[in-house]
Symmetry: C2
Subunit: 345 residues, 2 copies
């Protein structure tokens, strides 16, 4: 059976259809769980690797080759678009992104300029190379959402409580909206360059949105996520939106101009479908720690996820968060086989 | 107006009544936000301080004196009962509890013996001293719930993903239940000694329960939290149960044999009341980061919390998580005054 890109199971499900098998990919499938990833990253700093097309192509392809997943996720990092426009930041192993000068005042916003084509030529080249290699397997473009980007910039690095970010929202709402508005433009431009060079879908990743109440999310975040995704208006690609711990926000996230809402493992997919409302596909949501359990437990839980996903008009199987670094890659391959074989049983 | 302990606003609300004003206390009110706390803790290790009655009394009293809160929370740490029975662990500043030998096999369970009176004599003495000083202000006893204790013991320290804990649940359910059962007995004994020496209520704190799906919570955790709280059967004290990020679990947590369900800031109290079901009081739930905002924002948000709390049969005002260490103590005092004056406006 030959499959074209357009009727790939992933794209069918993301558009709300029912393909011949449930498509599956894994957040962070390209990463530390794979020995071949650790080998090619040896001695290369994370951010450097994201700007070297031959590495981005290799790393993005590794899980597609190994596991036979239904989609590739563009290997990048949430802060790559900020690095691309010259923000002084680095990714510190064991810590995460660290910003040299946190942004907390209006006069610091000027550095958040629009992305110019030259800034992201390595990204564009990587995408083109990938699309050539991938053939009928879709490539998902990737960007961090404005709230998560803002939290890194305001806090200066990862934060458990996002205290300064919320403080800025509450105390200086105009500055907040100006900052988030700039980040929405940048995230949108970063997604658009991926799609224009051949990505077939995008995922806007709001890692930290789950720290917000629904009221704060609607007031301070949703308009900017909508703006970021609206950069893709006129380009015919499905848009996925995901955050961790967002059970209270699923309905609002579904209003961001998305086709697919990603769900973490805390909310069963059939319950998520009720919260998201009609017409949206779902993505998720096996607890990533399940992969450390015996195979029969993994398969029992995966079956539960698939069955719950049938209540949605389209289900893309995934974990409920990224692959944990210690995960046995063989457990991931077995899970792909199980999901692919489930409907034929 | 003289108030007796029994008709203190906190106890009235916790029992589902409507006192003359909304009672308020803060999780972690005794702690690093107060300069007088930092002064008395100078040079004293955290776990040492928990076993020195004169320090426990002083630290527990500090926020009662300063803020005029409606209840004292016993100053302790989740791992104190484990330390009391001789488990080799310490609290490392900046990290949290670190267990010398993580517990991952059946033959390690023997060290989790019952608490004997001698183990907790400093705890009992602290409680008696506090009850004398507090007069008509109730003291809330405190213990960590079995799941959270188990996670520290299995992981060996704080964990973001609780991977080994879940692995043990899924792969060795009998060992899990044996371990959690031992911890339920210990947590129950630790609560009981506080109540027998004069505490007027208890809070069972399940810091990490929000990492679990509802199905896993019901299967692996709820029976053990129930067992811990059942140690108080026959003692007429209200029982509060709280965890962070537990929006999906509120109904189940309400089934643990509790009078009050604590709610984090992600779920509005009126929505929480629907999930918890009839007959339970609620506690919460102002986002602790709000205290870094201007006073008018704090008061607007606090008013929203109070109004939403009116849908419950009893509301104890609190934050939706612990006081952040950098919080301005004056902001807490102002918030207490605002909550106390709200109903009289």
């Amino acid at each position: 059976m030959t499959t074209t890109l357009a009727d790939s199971p992933f794209l069918q499900a993301a558009r709300g259809g029912t393909p011949s098998h449930t498509p599956v990919w894994f957040m962070r499938q390209a990463g530390r769980s794979l020995p071949e990833y650790r080998a090619v990253r040896e001695g290369v700093a994370m951010l450097d690797s994201c700007f070297r097309p031959e590495l981005v192509v290799e790393i993005t392809m590794q899980p597609v080759r190994r596991h036979g997943v239904d989609a590739a996720i563009f290997f990048s990092d949430i802060v790559v678009p900020l690095k691309a426009i010259g923000v002084d930041l680095d990714i510190v192993p064991g810590t995460g992104p660290v910003v040299a000068e946190p942004i907390r005042s209006a006069d610091q916003l000027a550095q958040l300029r629009d992305i110019e084509p030259d800034d992201v030529e390595p990204i564009a080249e990587s995408v083109r190379g990938l699309v050539d290699e991938l053939g009928s397997t879709p490539l998902i473009g990737f960007a961090g959402a404005p709230f998560t980007l803002a939290s890194y910039l305001i806090e200066g690095g990862p934060s458990r409580d996002h205290r300064r970010t919320k403080q800025l929202m509450y105390a200086e709402p105009e500055l907040w909206h100006a900052l988030a508005g700039r980040l929405a433009a940048i995230a949108g431009q970063f997604l658009r360059v991926q799609v224009e060079n051949g990505a077939s879908a995008v995922q806007l990743f709001d890692s930290w949105a789950g720290a917000l109440s629904l009221a704060d999310y609607r007031r301070f975040v949703l308009p900017h996520s909508q703006a970021a995704l609206s950069a893709l208006d006129g380009l015919d690609v499905p848009r996925i939106h995901f955050g961790v711990g967002t059970g209270e926000l699923l309905g609002a996230m579904g209003e961001a101009g998305v086709d697919v809402v990603g769900v973490d493992w805390r909310v069963p997919l059939d319950e998520a479908v009720k919260r998201i409302g009609p017409g949206k596909a779902v993505q998720g949501n096996l607890d990533p720690t399940t992969l450390f359990a015996p195979t029969e437990v993994v398969e029992r839980e995966a079956a539960r996820v698939i069955e719950a996903g049938r209540t949605a008009p389209g289900h893309v199987f995934n974990l409920g968060h990224g692959v944990l670094p210690d995960t046995d890659p063989d457990a991931l391959t077995r899970l792909v086989d199980f999901v692919h074989g489930y409907d034929a049983r």
